[in-house]
Amino acid sequence: MIPAIEVLDLHKSFGPLEVLKGIDLRVMPREVVCVIGPSGSGKSTLLRCINLLEQPTSGRILIEGDDITDPDADVDRLRTRIGMVFQQFNLFPHLDVLGNLTIAQRKVLRRSADEAEEIGRAMLERVGLGDKVHEYPSRLSGGQQQRVAIARALAMNPDMMLFDEPTSALDPELVGEVLDVMRDLVADGMTMVVVTHEMGFAKEAADRVVFMDEGVVVEEGPPAQVLEDPQTERTRRFLRMVLHT
């Protein structure tokens, strides 16, 4: 079986600062991988390299076997297979909710207005916001905005989803509704890479947990092992810190 995502010896530097120091990661179809680690460990940069929002300094990234880092790759086309959800939601404030969901379907996938709208409405139902179709993003709560952002990514029928700290910008009482939507995606068999600080979610939903620190993967394995019986001192120290705050 071809891996959904294969990252090979990925390096990324910002000027003199080396943020990723040789990452190897393989995500199989339908697999859910949670990436944890202290801030500045490079986990967000890793995620942003996977769909080439950041240009890797060296290394290769294969999306379902296609090399997205190849200079001849049709990056725009490959990105339609990868949905991405951002910490700050990044909804388009000048479009209503349905407009947010349909614009890329129409411009990129060339779907008709009717078809895009039908799919858009279906995705909003799926995240429980069927009644917010014509609302503008600024009138929604953070949790609702993030659910719209998830629906917007799903409307492109991606093969996999990347989540970059999807609940970190939310008020605590709004985290649950977003995690619920993500749990539904896991149940549907979506391939997911989730950068998160939600250890509870990682424990129950992940097939595999990856612990990163200072630009390298320190430890990876099933959540029961990495989160409950960590093999390295760095992982233990990190977990002590997050679980005690």
Binding site: F92, Y136, A149
Partner: protein, 261 residues
Amino acid sequence: MNRRRRQRLVRGTLYGLFILAVVSALVLADWPAIARAFANPELAREMFPDVITVAARNTILYTALSFAFGLVGGLVLALMKISPIRPYRWMAVAYIELFRGLPALVTIMAVGFVVPIAFDITVPGGVLGKGSVALGIVAAAYMAETIRAGIEAVPKGQMEAARSLGMSYSQAMASIVLPQAFRIVVPPLTNEFVLLLKDTSLLFVLGTTPLTKELFKFGRDAMSQNFNGTPLTVIALVYLAITLPLTQLVARMERRTAHAR
């Protein structure tokens, strides 16, 4: 004397001086002479309807066309200036620095008189064509900086979200970033429109005919024909009648978009 009383005293003195200046100007002015030279009702009446149907109409026409040219040019320059391709950036910077540095009058005369001699071609459309091309060239340089600032004020996440959905750079720019940028730059662009409107008063150097006169030339000719300043008053009021509603409209638009956000 405590601090607050001292502040009140200073402010009171300033108000007093201001009122004194206004009152003495009103008293010292030679009102009958002003009325004779600048507010002759009969002369003012004679200027109508041409001051509106010809002069104001031409001024608005020149302004609108220059603004359209400037907007297109400014957008292209702004996109060049934020381009990752270095020669594009250099070209945009050179253009902007050149035409911001030159007086508009020089550019107008260059388009009107230098281009025909140097290249043996004339910009078509008479004063309207030459004038709006020249003013459009100047306006583009100013608008480029405004539009660039507007684009850069749109959060980076907007472009990233659009790209992550598979949009190309130009698709994302056109349907996600620019619509938001334009909302931001409406007030400064209106300011640019008002400046352009006033700059159309320079177009007389291109040699206007009775039918292509804009407001300022129209007023100036009427002044020299009658040896009287009343036309100046009339065109000043017409200029204000155009610009004031415009700035009010923008203020209202700003309030409304602020509300929607």
